[in-house]
C-alpha cells in the first residue's frame, strides 16, 4: 500500500511517527501551514515556522524516506489578529518556493469579515502563483461555513478543480461534490470523520475527487489513519486499485496541479534506488547495513 498523506502536521510529530508511517507505506505527504495552538503574536514567528516547513521538516522527513511538501497560508483563526495579518505580505515569497504545492490551509473559523477578506486574498494568490488551494471548513456551523466557502471560491475565479475543501462530513459533502471541488476527509480517533463513515461515503459517491488524510497534529490524532482507511476500504470490498486511487493517485492528481510534487524515492530507502555503498572509496553506510544485500 503506497500512501500520500495530503494533510498532516509533522512539526508536531515525532521520529517514531515517521518510522511507523514509512512502515505503513507513506512515501510522500503535504504539511499545511497551521495554527500552533499557542497564538502567535508577531510576523517573525510565522516566518520561522514557514522556513522550518520548507527546510528542517523537509529534511527530517527525507531521513525517514518520505517526500515532504507544504502549503503556506495564514491560518483562519489568526486572520482575526491584526498583528498576524501582516504576514500576508510575505506569502508571495514563499509561494514561489520548491515544495510549496498549494495555498493553505485557509478558510473559516468564526466567519468574521476579516476571515472573508483573508480567504479572498489567499484565493487570489493561488491564481497568481498557479497553485491549488487547500480550504478547510470550520469546526462550528460547518454547513454554513462550507456553503460560504464555495460561494467565495466561485467569486474568486479559481476553478473548483483547483480547490480541496477539507474536514468534510456527511452533512456537507454533497454540496462540495456538486460544485466540482475536491472532497477532503480528515480521519480522526474521536472527532471529525472515522474510517468506516468515510468508506460509507465512498460507497455512496464513488471515488472521484475523494481525498483522505490523517490531519494529525499536536492534538489527539493518528498519523496511521490513512492506512487504516485503506484497510477499511478493503474490508468493505474495495479493490487494491481503489485503495491506491484514494490514498495515492487522487492526492497526487490534486497537488500535482502545482507542478511541484517530488515523488522520486528518497535515495537509500528503496533497494532498487540505493546508490553505491561507497562514494569515492569512502563508506557512506557509516555502520548501517547495506540495503543492497537485503
Amino acid at each position: 500500500m503506497r500512501i500520500f498523506d495530503p494533510h498532516i502536521h509533522m512539526t508536531s510529530r515525532t521520529t517514531d511517527d515517521y518510522e511507523s508511517m514509512y512502515a505503513a507505506g507513506v512515501r510522500a505527504l503535504v504539511e499545511p501551514a497551521f495554527w500552533l495552538g499557542q497564538p502567535r503574536t508577531h510576523v517573525g514567528s510565522f516566518l520561522d515556522y514557514f522556513d522550518a516547513l520548507l527546510g528542517w521538516e523537509r529534511f527530517r522527513a527525507s531521513q525517514f524516506g518520505i517526500r515532504h511538501h507544504s502549503t503556506i497560508a495564514l491560518n483562519p483563526k489568526e486572520a482575526n489578529d491584526a498583528r498576524c495579518r501582516e504576514v500576508m505580505g510575505h506569502l508571495p515569497r514563499y509561494l514561489a518556493k520548491d515544495g510549496v504545492v498549494a495555498v493553505g490551509e485557509t478558510g473559516y473559523d468564526s466567519m468574521t469579515p476579516e476571515e472573508d477578506d483573508v480567504l479572498r486574498q489567499h484565493l487570489a494568490l493561488a491564481i497568481e502563483f498557479a497553485l491549488p488551494a487547500l480550504v478547510h471548513t470550520p469546526h462550528r456551523d460547518k454547513v454554513t461555513g462550507t456553503r460560504r466557502t464555495l460561494d467565495v471560491v466561485a467569486e474568486s475565479g479559481l476553478p473548483f478543480g483547483m480547490v480541496l475543501v477539507d474536514h468534510l462530513n456527511e452533512t456537507c459533502v454533497d454540496m462540495v461534490a456538486e460544485a466540482g471541488a475536491w472532497m477532503g476527509f480528515s480521519i480522526y480517533p474521536d472527532t471529525k470523520m472515522d474510517e468506516h463513515r468515510v468508506v460509507a461515503i465512498m460507497q455512496r459517491l464513488g471515488l472521484d475527487r475523494i481525498i483522505v488524510n490523517s490531519a494529525a497534529d499536536w492534538g489527539r490524532s493518528d498519523p496511521l489513519k490513512t492506512a487504516k482507511t485503506g484497510y477499511a476500504m478493503l474490508e468493505a470490498g474495495f479493490t487494491e486499485d481503489d485503495v491506491d486511487r484514494v490514498l495515492w493517485r487522487n492526492p497526487v492528481e490534486f497537488y500535482g496541479q502545482s507542478g511541484r510534487l517530488d515523488l522520486t524515492p528518497v535515495p537509500g530507502f528503496e533497494p532498487a534506488q540505493q546508490g553505491p555503498d561507497t562514494f569515492e572509496g569512502n563508506s557512506v553506510l557509516r555502520g548501517m547495513a547495506s540495503r543492497r544485500e537485503a
Binding site: R58, R93, D98, E280, G281, S283
Partner: protein, 481 residues
C-alpha cells in the same frame, strides 16, 4: 589552473636528460601537483644497495613539495640490456620482472604512491602462444596481489597497444580472472585509446569507470603507438576531460612523453597549458534556463529571488555525479543558483542581495548561495562580500542538514574560513556521515589539531562499540611538514 578533482602530473621518463631533483623542480615549477615516477635509470635504481634510503629521502622530498606520486614500471632495458622491456609477465621466465614488480610495490608503499602501474607484455613469438601467455599472466598477477595488499598498495593494469592486454576490456577480464580484488585497478593512457580502443577514449574511460586508478596523458594517431605532444594527434582531449568528470575521477593524470626528454621543459609547460585550455572548454554547458536567468539577473538583480526559487523546477535536482546519490558534492540546481550568484557579483550587486537570497531561501536555495561563493573563492572579493560569505557559511555549519553543511565546506571556506571553524566543519561531516572526499582543501588545511579531534572522536565511537568511518583516516594523522 582548473579546480577539477584529479591532479595533473608529469612522467619522469620524459625527463631522462635531467637529474631527478632537477626534473621535479621543473615539473613543480610548471604547476603540476603530481609526478609519475618511472623506476630505473636514470632516476631511481630499484636494485641499488641504498634503494630504501634513497626512496625514503624521495618520499620526504615529494611530501615537502606537495607532489602526489604514481609508480610506473615501463623502463626500457632495465632487466635485459639486449631486449627492450624483457622479460615481461608473459615470458616463460619472468623471475626478474616479478622481482622488479615486488620491489616496485615496496617503493610505492614507502612513497605512499597512488598505485603501481604495470602492463602485460608482448607475447614472445618463439615458445609461448596466446593461451599459454594468458595463463602465465593470470598466475603472475595473482601472485602479486597478496604482496601488494600486504603493503597496502594498489596495482593498476595498463593496456598497451600490441601487448596481450591491449584494451580496457582485456584489462577488466584479467582483473576478473584474478578474483576482482579491490587492490587492482586500471590505468588508461589517453593516447593509446586513439590507437587501439574500439570505443575510443570516451568509451575506454567509461569502461574503466570507478576502477580507474591512473591516467596517462598524451596524444596519438589511430593505429600508431607513438606518444605525441597534446594537440598534434587525433585525441579529443575535451571529450576525455568531460568523461573524467563524468566518472568522477580523482586520481593522478600524468603527461607521458618518454621520447621527448630533449625538449622536456617546453613540453611540460605546453602540456599543462593545453590541458587547462581543454578543461575550460569542457566546462559543462549551462542549462538554457540558467543562461536566460543569468542574463535576466544581470539586467535586473531584483529578479533573483523569484529565479532562485524556481531553479530546481527548471533545471532539476539531480546530483552532478552519479556516484553521489545525496548530491553532497553538488546538484544541478546548485549549479544553476551558483551561476546566478556569480552573475550578481559580476554585475556589482551589493552582497546584501545575496544574503537575502540565503536568509529567505529554503535549504536548496541556501546551498545554491554557498556554491556561488565557492565559484567566487578565487575571485578578488571586497571585504563585504567576503564577510557575507563567511557569515552564511557559519550559519550553514550550525545546521543539521548534511547537504547544507557539505555545501558549506567547499572552495570558499577552504580559502577563507578560520581554522577553528573549518576543523569543526570537517568533524561535523564525519559525525553526519558525509564522505570527506567532498571537502575542498582537505590535504592542504588538515593539521595536528584536526588529527587530535578526529582521534578523540574515533575513541569515543570505539568506547561506545560503534563503527568508525573509513575515511576518518584522511584526517586522523598529522600531515608531514
Amino acid at each position: 589552473m582548473t579546480t577539477d578533482a584529479w591532479v595533473l602530473g608529469y612522467g619522469t621518463n620524459g625527463f631522462a636528460d635531467h637529474t631527478l631533483d632537477d626534473a621535479l623542480d621543473v615539473i613543480q615549477g610548471c604547476g603540476y601537483r603530481a609526478v609519475a615516477l618511472t623506476l630505473g635509470h636514470p632516476h631511481l635504481d630499484p636494485f641499488a644497495d641504498d634503494w630504501r634510503t634513497r626512496t625514503e629521502e624521495l618520499a620526504a622530498d615529494l611530501r615537502a613539495r606537495g607532489l602526489r606520486v604514481v609508480v610506473e614500471t615501463g623502463t626500457r632495458y632495465l632487466l635485459d640490456p639486449w631486449h627492450k622491456h624483457r622479460p615481461t609477465l608473459v615470458d616463460r621466465d619472468a623471475e626478474p620482472r616479478m622481482a622488479f614488480l615486488a620491489r616496485a610495490i615496496e617503493i610505492a608503499a614507502v612513497l605512499d604512491a597512488d598505485c603501481v602501474s604495470l602492463w602485460s607484455g608482448v607475447v614472445p613469438d618463439d615458445d609461448v602462444d596466446d593461451d599459454t601467455a594468458w595463463t602465465l599472466l593470470v598466475e603472475r598477477l595473482a601472485a602479486l596481489v597478496p604482496i601488494a595488499e600486504e603493503r597496502g598498495v594498489t596495482l593498476s593494469i595498463e593496456p598497451e597497444p600490441g601487448m596481450l592486454v591491449e584494451t580496457v576490456s582485456d584489462a577488466l577480464r584479467l582483473r576478473d580472472e584474478v578474483g576482482a580484488p579491490a587492490s587492482v585497478g586500471i590505468t588508461v593512457d589517453l593516447g593509446h585509446c586513439v590507437a587501439v580502443e574500439p570505443e575510443g577514449v570516451v568509451g575506454a574511460l567509461r569502461q574503466a569507470g570507478k576502477l580507474l586508478r591512473n591516467v596517462q596523458v598524451d596524444d596519438m594517431k589511430p593505429g600508431v603507438h607513438e606518444h605525441l605532444e597534446l594537440g598534434t594527434g587525433d585525441l579529443d582531449l575535451v571529450a576525455a576531460i568531460e568523461t573524467l568528470r563524468e566518472i568522477g575521477y580523482t586520481g593522478v593524470a600524468a603527461v607521458e612523453l618518454p621520447r621527448h626528454s630533449h625538449d622536456a621543459p617546453r613540453l611540460a609547460g605546453a602540456s599543462i597549458a593545453a590541458w587547462d585550455a581543454a578543461a575550460r572548454a569542457a566546462m559543462p554547458a549551462r542549462h538554457p534556463w540558467t543562461v536566460e536567468a543569468v542574463a535576466s539577473v544581470t539586467a535586473d538583480p531584483t529578479r533573483a529571488p523569484r529565479l532562485f526559487a524556481e531553479a530546481g523546477r527548471a533545471v532539476g535536482r539531480d546530483p552532478l555525479s552519479p556516484d553521489d546519490p545525496h548530491g553532497y558534492a553538488g546538484t544541478t540546481d546548485d549549479a544553476a543558483r551558483a551561476a546566478l550568484v556569480e552573475a550578481l557579483h559580476a554585475g556589482g550587486a551589493d552582497p546584501s542581495v545575496v544574503r537575502a537570497l540565503y536568509e529567505y531561501g529554503d535549504n536548496a536555495e541556501r546551498r545554491g548561495v554557498l556554491r556561488g561563493f565557492d565559484a567566487l573563492a578565487d575571485a578578488d572579493l571586497t571585504p563585504a562580500w567576503r564577510e557575507t560569505g563567511l557569515d552564511l557559511a557559519r550559519d550553514a555549519l550550525r545546521t543539521n542538514d548534511p547537504a547544507l553543511v557539505a555545501s558549506a565546506m567547499g572552495a570558499f571556506t577552504a580559502r577563507h574560513l578560520d581554522d577553528h571553524g573549518w576543523r569543526h566543519g570537517v568533524l561535523k561531516l564525519v559525525f553526519m556521515g558525509v564522505p570527506l572526499s567532498i571537502v575542498r582543501g582537505l590535504d592542504e588545511r588538515r593539521d595536528a589539531e584536526l588529527a587530535a579531534m578526529a582521534s578523540r572522536y574515533a575513541e569515543e565511537r570505539r568506547a561506545a562499540g560503534r563503527s568508525i568511518p573509513d575515511d576518518i583516516r584522511l584526517i586522523d594523522t598529522v600531515p608531514q611538514e
